[in-house]
Symmetry: C2
Subunit: 206 residues, 2 copies
């Protein structure tokens, strides 16, 4: 792709560094900004820079926060003894949207993945183990993705805390509510049979 | 979507103003920036701001340029009497990539589209007509998209310059090179039959 302007080329290059944004999409986005009032570009640039410079992570759960301790960890009405372990901030947002969880979170910041060069030391695992050792936790809920990396991470944490008197659980896997059985994959359907629950329990959740 | 940080929310909001970028994608992009070195965000913001502030449009063809007259218009080896009329900058890049065109361009900046509130006065049509009136043009090649808006724009320009002694042409429409006839749409296939060319001419272009 040949550009008639170095400024344009540089903007497209930087934009195309974002994941899932190729050169053509980057060009489309940049040309869109050119057609809009200058303010839009200024606002975008400022918002990104300010966020990157000033955003904080909660000192307790590592969730994104504007203050030292995030709103969830700072909320006395939540049960601080039940910790839901998640990969990243988006998972916190997804679970919060359900309004079904009244405990607190612990954001690992990823999962153990040797292929991507992510080892346990790069994740917020130690602080989680410390919380358990301190004795203030009654239950850990593992809510990582059910991939090899997720399972490895779960097990890595589990090994370090299994001797402490806490409950460990994982979120339920099964056929999504509203899904047809015939289109479900075998592994999920198989698991949903093995891990069936008493019918009375299913009534409670509705 | 509820955010635990106003800074994050603002960044996602601004990012999602871009066309084709929804809230979820914006969040993914912004969280990606958070995981990367600060430099990446700084470079992106600076490149966008600088481009928006400093980019110029060629005084002659309205293509994007870092100088008053773009490289193409400033190139003496190109035929300045043949002008290819295009909608936007991406079309110039696409045609330049073919290396088949030795004339110059005229970028309209869009096409006449009452639905989108774009009238002739918002496009670079007057400067094009002036060029024709000045008598330095021998051929205008219309290379707008073949939509109702494109056709309207072509015709609007054609009416104003039809009394001047110049050739007007449009780029050839037909079955794409390498495409199967059976999958072509009827309109294109019909046109490619009506507007067939001598077999000898087709040999020349290869």
């Amino acid at each position: 792709m040949e550009f008639s302007s170095k400024l344009l080329e540089k903007a497209v290059h930087e934009m195309s560094q974002l994941p899932g944004i190729g050169k053509r999409t980057a060009l489309r986005l940049v040309l869109h900004l050119l057609k809009q009032p200058k303010d839009q570009t200024t606002f975008l640039s400022q918002a990104l820079t300010q966020m990157r410079e000033e955003v904080k992570f909660c000192g307790s759960c590592h969730n994104i926060s504007d203050v030292e301790i995030c709103e969830i960890c700072g909320n006395d009405k939540r049960n601080h003894q039940i910790i839901c372990v998640v990969e990243d901030i988006r998972d916190v947002m997804a679970i919060e949207n359900t309004r079904q969880f009244k405990g607190i979170y612990h954001v690992l910041g990823g999962k153990i993945s040797p292929i991507d060069g992510v080892g346990p030391s790069q994740l917020n695992i130690n602080t989680l183990v410390e919380k358990v050792k301190a004795g203030n936790v009654t239950e850990l809920i593992f809510a990582l993705s059910s991939t090899m990396e997720g399972d490895t991470t779960n097990f890595f944490i589990y090994r370090q805390i299994k001797d402490y008197p806490i409950i460990t659980s994982t979120i339920a896997r099964g056929i999504a509510v509203g899904d047809e059985l015939e289109y479900a994959d075998e592994v999920t359907l198989g698991r949903s049979i093995l891990q069936r629950i008493p019918f009375e329990n299913s009534l409670k959740n509705n």
